[in-house]
Symmetry: C2
Subunit: 188 residues, 2 copies
DNA sequence: TCCCACATGTAAGATGTTACATGATTTA
DNA sequence: TAAATCATGTAACATCTTACATGTGGGA
């Protein structure tokens, strides 16, 4: 296997993220992948829509990076479980090790967009939005900690845990940032 | 002006962001808007491609939220400068004050995606990526401080400054986060 | 003179979302 | 038996990027 076809770079990051999800032991369905993305990937990278996950899985399979298996009569439900292939693992490895710079993080912060345009709003309203943001962030913090609890002790999950710990600290920082902004907002 | 047509919610956030750029005193060309987005908006929201800015400006004009003026013979170059209209300002105000939750921030962090998949890479390589990220973040920090310097003293720029200060602290936190992750990476 | 910054746009295509359609199984 | 969750997919559409095409003006 492997002639000249080096597809290392021609898939969108989302495809690699889904393949990454598949790179951990076991096989899973698109639906399961979505739940996993929602409870872990999304904290540092974003969770694609379910329909996109299905689309990426088909792409991965067409590239030979994953195989799927329709569950037989042994399982109650008709589902399609995907698993990474050797070629997929090799491609993912090459992608993760590429010399290329992975690129700058992209942040889209709707709250900051409102703050930036604060001259058009009631200061009271603005402060309320910031407080809501703090509450949401704290709720997410709880979720990250739960994910961390589930990952704790599982073998070979060291790196996902590092990512989750980074997310935990990031959310903590997000709360502090919001509180500092509240102070700034006092001085017009 | 203003019958029943309330377009408050039916534009993408990017359109509002561009209208927001226009809401500060003065008129500007698409090209100028792009530079401004690159040096300020992008730190907390993201900078659209130039071609998209032009597209959004046309959309804004078709909604009556902006007007454009082709420069006459007084200016050396043929350009089209846009300015916000009263209707645009009113719509933007309504949008900024909407009761609705602005939504959770979206973060796409390519470095973390690599860290998460760290089991597929050489630890050395991973650490190098983190260091590059720190260097890039520090460069961005410098840019934010320059933007802050330019905004300093300008009347009625209070809110953009708050957003910029938030960005400055955020980048500082980003550096600390990366350093803490480097420590975590030591312990597998 | 050559290159860079200014300036505007089109076209093609990738990416991603929402809404819709369908149906099985589990749990309350 | 009703609702929630599991499960998969399609279709329509919006969003956004890249590459391309074109040209002017100013500075080295």
């Amino acid at each position: 296997m492997a002639m000249g076809e080096d597809d290392t770079q021609d898939m969108p990051p989302t495809a690699w993220a889904v393949l990454g999800l598949l790179s951990f032991p076991g096989e899973r369905t698109g639906y399961e992948l979505k739940k996993w993305a929602d409870s872990s990937l999304r904290f540092f990278y974003w969770s694609p829509a379910l329909s996109q996950i299905y689309a990426e899985l088909r792409r991965l399979e067409s590239h030979g990076y994953a195989t799927s298996r329709r569950s037989g009569p042994e399982e109650p439900r008709t589902k399609r479980a995907y698993a990474i292939t050797e070629a997929g693992r090799a491609a993912l490895s090459r992608w993760a090790s590429a010399a290329q710079d992975p690129g700058a993080p992209v942040l889209k912060h709707p709250l900051l967009l409102r703050v930036w345009l604060g001259h058009l709003t009631d200061p009271e309203h603005l402060r309320a939005l910031v407080h809501e943001h703090v509450a949401r962030t704290q709720a997410e913090l709880k979720e990250v900690r739960e994910a961390l609890g589930r990952a704790d002790g599982v073998e070979a999950w060291g790196h996902p845990q590092v990512a989750l710990r980074w997310s935990e600290r990031r959310l903590l920082a997000e709360v502090e940032l919001a509180e500092a902004m509240l102070v700034d907002l006092e001085g017009v």
